[in-house]
């Protein structure tokens, strides 16, 4: 894969500025303001636990709490995709951004279909790889989200010279399917997705 670089010098975000899931459980537990430094002092296998009782009480009680799929989770799924030009993630290049991800609940109470809308921001307005990136995001989400989600990937308005044309391509199911038959393109996509966590 030897593409001429269209943007040789993109701006890079620092990892600590990327949105990440705040460890809510931990924050909740620690209302004393500590960071949990002393939690590991007593090893989990310490002798005060009785192995003979443990087996009975082992089934987690908090298993019932449901953690819904949210925007952050979608972000985590796609932000680690690599850019086709650089060995950098879409997240650190700000191609995908948390505020540009929206989950729309089912439109009617009878339907269970939610829609995930992802708007991507190409690093430069004439980037011809925008379609490939969009396709990569789409493929990733279709593989990683349960079927009750519809995936809608588009270029953010005003960030690309031909955003409407690209959006048309990305929205056209048949063209997407045809693109995925293309071996070279699949090769590029596979490389992009290989860094996903």
């Amino acid at each position: 894969m030897d593409l001429d670089k269209q943007n040789a010098n993109p701006t890079i975000l620092n990892p600590s500025d990327l949105p990440s899931r705040r460890r809510e459980t931990q924050v909740k537990r620690r209302d004393d303001g500590g960071t949990g430094l002393f939690d590991d002092l007593i090893p989990p296998y310490n002798y005060l636990n009785d192995p003979f009782d443990q087996a009975i009480s082992s089934s987690d009680s908090d298993d019932d709490a449901v953690e819904q799929i949210d925007e952050q989770e979608v972000y985590d799924l796609i932000s680690s995709i690599s850019d086709p030009e650089h060995p950098l993630s879409l997240g650190s290049l700000a191609v995908v951004n948390l505020p540009d991800i929206h989950i729309q609940p089912p439109t009617s109470p009878h339907s269970c279909i939610s829609t995930v809308v992802v708007e991507i921001t190409p690093t430069i307005t004439h980037c011809s790889l925008a379609t490939v990136i969009g396709l990569g995001v789409r493929v990733r989400l279709e593989q990683a989200l349960p079927p009750r989600f519809r995936v809608d990937v588009r270029i953010k308005k005003g960030t690309h010279s031909t955003d409407e044309a690209v959006n048309k391509q990305l929205g056209d199911k048949e063209r997407v399917a045809a693109a995925l038959e293309n071996g070279t393109l699949m090769g590029v996509l596979r490389k992009m997705l290989s860094t996903c966590e």
Partner: protein
């Protein structure tokens, strides 16, 4: 028959016998039975043979004989004659290799003079030039070895030859032309390196250079079972040394190398970069000054547009090497080299933070590291622009990018001028550090950045913090006052700031404080400690609770050696006043945790330093007295087992570093705990003691754990064990007290029984009133005692295990308590925080192997014989054993276990068992996939069943995630054709797991599914 006849006759049949003939001739020559003249005469006939092979072998015979003659047998005259004779034979065209061998053998028997050496060299060049006319590697090799030897031993002679013969060098170079064999090349490179490095090569420089550079880049790949063991790397190294050997090569080497840098092969580029780096290091400042800018222009691209990370690293080394070489010369060229660099870097800084501004930071960091001069020039060239850009920047991101570059520069500066603890490569020179001129500006920018930027600007503040930390480390840069301010700033972040995000800034500040404490312990103690102490209340009865983060940060400082003692002292004082002022239990627990944490961090110091008897007087004794007392000195918090466990651990960590002698005082008061009551009235000896006294057993357990086995127990060992066994049977004991007392049984057995007594140590319990092994009397309290004993014994690998284990295994089919017994096995081998080497326990290196060998094969056998309703017990026991077992022990038996493991996945409600089974299956997949291969169908089905939630089996999320992770490994470790048939099924079933209610499980499912989707794609490619 003459020897030569015999030799030639044997040569084809048996090389060994031929050599024996040569040996015989040599011996006869030595003994005088054979005259040299006669020997040579006999050879004459064969040297004149029509057959080239015969002539060559005859010379071979001569060479062998010569090599076998002991020294001093041949006279100088004889040697000279022989030498002339052999040299005359070199125009034969056959047997040149043997001629060379013979000459080498002669040389070993007596040194040559210069004339002779020159004659040999000239004759070789006249008769055998070029060497490539000899097709056999084995012919050329001895010649090369001969020349190499001449080069090594007669350097002056050959050099004179070169100086006095104008065309000698060109003939010499041409002589080796066209050599291709790697073994020969190794010798050729080493021969040619001598003229390169030592001779005046003048006009022949280019030829000489081409003679070696023709081989660049080396693409040799040794055959799979190469007997000579020459690798491509060996050749590369030698070739690189040749190229770097003389600066006369520079006009040819740099253009040629830079030309090859455009290659598309990464290996070639790597070679080029490494060669440039070594050439730069050798050619000297004058030569390099001519090429430095050309090289910079070429090398920078490898860093600004990274293709491969290691290429960028090599290019950086190259740039640094240039700076290093130039700083050995005059300042002019160094300035000329650095000017375009900081100019270019300044340009990249303008649009920070980009890929290229990051690259600029890397370049600056690497080059600035080289020498004081370079650092100073770069700082003067970069920092003014950097700060101007910083002031005019409107975006935080840009400011952050600029400061990142700045931090890299200070780090390099510290490398050169050192930190407070040790001087850098420049030695004691901090007065000349150019960073001093920018000190105030740098401090202001970073301090206000950390202080004033909003908390959301995490990365900006992190880099400010890093900058401040580096500034405070730089040797001789800041005053203690400045450092004090930085400490206060860090402290404020740690203590007063709201928690935000992943708390990168807070964690950075705590770690920063620890690092500064390493550099400037006194300043930290003076500046930060009072502030910390002021934030820690004496009592929290007014409802304050902000103390926790302060305590955490403060305890963390204990990891720094020089402040450790002060941290402990202050914490201890705080604890005393908290108790005196009736602080709440949670505050007291927090303080105890902090003390324990600090002690753990300083554990090394405790062990080295036996003066810790201070800590014993100041901490252990008061704590024990508070524990056992019943008056006002006994805090309410001490009425709780978990608190007492903390107390016990604190005492343990201090006491265990003492000698057995010092420990005796504690050992005597193990149960009385200095309360002045007779031991008999207390647990475990008195079953009717005041219930309040039961709790202190938790502390006694930790104390017992800290003792050396040489200490004396406060009573007879049998009495203690049986008392403990009885004591733990009482139904009213709280669970922690019971566990602690059981653990005392394990500890006593492990430490205090002699090896011979250990064999029978359980007898009193088995035969006594307890009747431990009586199946009719079996109940959970007895089962606990059984396993407590076994735990202590198994760690010592006692032979008695082979009698004890079968008894216990037989209880697995006990109708009522089989399952309880089964769960007990998990206690035997699990990691344990009390029975450890640090606690002076006796732990045999092979105890896990021993227990495994005694238990697992028996379990698999009994499992087959067991009735269906008892089978789960065996699976539970098995998983308990496997859980604590390193996989290399399991690996031997794993093919026997695989069916049991798979069946464990069908158990209902035994989640820990499933988890253990999945863990073992996962390790099996990684280490010994072949075993799993035939069971892949049932493995995949069962893993799938455990990865999806359904109504009947409420598989917990941990098991679901583990099953999914194991499933991800399957296509990695097994052959494509084995897994391909399951792809469709797996991908379909996993869709359900993608919608799991737990995030952790979903994330594992995404990975598993992505991996399995690839299975097909990989198939398409083939």
């Amino acid at each position: 028959m003459s020897d030569i006849q015999q030799y030639l006759l044997d040569y084809d049949r048996n090389k060994k016998e031929a050599s024996a003939t040569a040996q015989r001739s040599a011996t006869r020559l030595k003994d005088g039975d054979l005259k040299l003249l006669k020997l040579v005469e006999e050879l004459g006939e064969y040297f004149n043979s029509e057959d080239g092979v015969t002539r060559s072998r005859t010379m071979g015979y001569l060479a062998e004989v010569l090599a076998l003659i002991p020294p001093k047998v041949l006279s100088l005259q004889q040697r000279n004659l022989l030498c002339d004779f052999i040299l005359a034979r070199t125009d034969d065209g056959e047997g040149i290799g043997n001629c060379a061998k013979a000459l080498t053998a002669l040389e070993e028997r007596g040194k040559w003079d210069s004339e002779r050496v020159q004659k040999i060299m000239e004759t070789l060049l006249a008769n055998t030039n070029p060497l490539r006319q000899f097709k056999q590697q084995s012919e050329r090799y001895p010649v090369l070895r001969l020349v190499d030897m001449l080069m090594a031993k007669y350097r002056d002679a050959l050099r004179t030859l070169h100086d006095s013969t104008p065309d000698f060098l060109s003939r010499f170079i041409a002589y080796f032309d066209g050599e291709k064999d790697p073994r020969n090349l190794m010798v050729v490179f080493s021969i040619l390196k001598v003229p390169m490095a030592e001779w005046n090569i003048g006009a022949d420089a280019q030829d000489l250079f081409d003679a070696v550079f023709n081989y660049f880049p080396i693409t040799f790949r040794p055959p799979p079972d190469d007997p000579y063991g020459i690798t491509a790397q060996d050749l590369k190294d030698r070739l690189r040394e040749c190229i770097a050997s003389t600066s006369d090569f520079a006009p040819y080497a740099f253009p040629a190398l830079l030309d090859k840098l455009d290659s598309t092969s990464m290996n070639t580029k790597r070679d080029v970069l490494q060669t440039i780096t070594s050439a730069v290091a050798e050619y000297g400042p004058h030569t390099i000054s001519l090429y430095s800018i050309t090289l910079w222009d070429a090398l920078k691209f490898e860093i600004l547009n990274v293709q491969e990370e290691d290429l960028a690293e090599e290019a950086l080394s190259g740039l640094a090497a240039i700076a290093k070489t130039l700083s050995q010369g005059t300042p002019g060229p160094l300035n000329a080299y650095l000017r375009p660099i900081f100019k270019e870097c300044n340009e990249h800084l303008e649009d920070a933070p980009t890929k290229q501004s990051q690259a600029a930071a890397r370049i600056l960091h690497r080059i600035a590291n080289v020498s004081p001069d370079v650092t100073n020039i770069l700082l003067a060239g970069i920092l003014p622009t950097l700060f101007t850009l910083f002031q005019s920047a409107d975006a935080m991101a840009k400011r952050r990018g600029l400061l990142e570059v700045f931090v890299q520069l200070i780090k390099a500066n510290i490398g050169v001028y050192g930190d407070w603890r040790s001087p850098g490569i420049a030695g004691e020179q901090s007065a000349n550090n150019a960073l001093a001129q920018f000190r105030d500006q740098a401090l202001e920018v970073t301090m206000s950045g950390l202080e004033d930027a909003p908390v959301e600007q995490v990365s900006f503040r992190v880099v400010c913090l890093d900058g401040l930390l580096q500034l405070s480390k730089a040797r001789g840069l800041l005053t203690d006052e400045h450092i004090g301010k930085i400490i206060q700033l860090f402290y404020a972040v740690v203590v007063h700031e709201q928690s935000y995000g992943k708390d990168d800034v807070k964690n950075g500040a705590i770690n920063g404080l620890v690092e500064i404490a390493h550099q400037k312990p006194q300043v930290v103690i003076e500046k930060a400690f009072p502030a910390f102490m002021a934030q820690l209340p004496d009592t929290d009865l007014d409802g304050s609770s902000g103390y926790f983060s302060v305590l955490e940060a403060f305890a963390k400082l204990a990891s720094e050696d020089k402040v450790f003692d002060t941290v402990i002292l202050r914490l201890k004082n705080k604890f005393s006043s908290a108790v005196n002022q009736n602080a709440s239990s949670s505050y007291i627990i927090a303080l105890l945790s902090a003390i324990l944490y600090a002690l753990t961090k300083g554990a090394n110091k405790l062990e080295q330093n036996h003066e810790s008897s201070n800590h014993y007087q100041d901490i252990v004794l008061p704590l024990l007295q508070r524990t056992s007392s019943t008056d006002s000195s006994h805090p309410k918090a001490f009425d709780d087992e978990t608190t007492l466990d903390l107390v016990g651990r604190i005492c343990n960590i201090i006491v265990r570093s003492h000698s057995a002698e010092q420990q005796q005082a504690v050992a005597a008061e193990l149960y009385t705990l200095f309360r002045g009551t007779a031991q008999d009235e207390l647990p475990p000896f008195n079953l009717n003691a005041n219930p309040e006294t039961n709790r202190t057993m938790v502390v006694s357990t930790q104390l017992l754990a800290s003792l050396h086995k040489e200490t004396r127990l406060p009573c007879e060992i049998e009495l203690l064990v049986s008392s403990l066994a009885n004591y733990t049977q009482q139904p009213h004991l709280s669970a922690p007290v019971r566990s602690a007392s059981l653990r005392q049984i394990s500890l006593v057995i492990n430490k205090y029984y002699s090896t011979s007594a250990l064999k029978t140590c359980m007898e009193p319990l088995i035969n006594g009133p307890l009747e431990l092994f009586n199946a009719d009397k079996l109940d959970p309290p007895r089962i606990r005692v059984i396993f407590a004993c076994l735990k202590g014994i198994s760690l010592r690998s006692s032979p008695s295990l082979s009698i004890l284990y079968p008894h216990v295994l037989s209880f697995l089919s006990h109708p009522k308590y089989g399952t309880t017994i089964a769960h007990g096995f998990s206690t035997l081998l699990q990691p344990d925080d009390l029975l450890t080497k640090q606690n002076h326990c006796q732990i045999s290196g092979l105890h896990k192997q021993k227990s495994f060998a005694l238990l697992v094969p028996n379990i698999t056998r009994l499992f087959r014989e067991a009735p269906a309703d008892m089978k789960p017990n065996y699976l539970i026991a098995l998983s308990g054993i496997l859980n604590g077992m390193p996989f290399d022990i399991v690996m031997e038996e794993v093919d026997q276990l695989i069916l049991l493991l798979l069946q464990s996945l069908d158990l209902k409600g035994e989640d820990l068992v499933k988890e253990a089974a999945i863990a073992t299956l996962t390790s099996t997949l990684v280490e010994k996939p072949a075993v799993v291969e035939e069971h892949v169908g049932s493995l995949v089905t069962r893993l799938l069943a455990n990865s999806v939630i359904n109504k009947e089996t409420r598989t917990p999320p941990k098991v679901r995630a583990a099953a999914l992770r194991c499933l991800t490994l399957v296509p990695d470790k097994l052959k494509l054709e084995v897994v391909l048939p399951y792809r469709r099924q797996v991908c379909k079933k996993l869709t359900a797991a993608l919608d799991d209610r737990k995030r952790e499980v979903r994330s594992a499912a995404v990975k598993a599914r992505a991996r399995w989707l690839e299975v097909d794609e990989a198939g398409d490619d083939e």
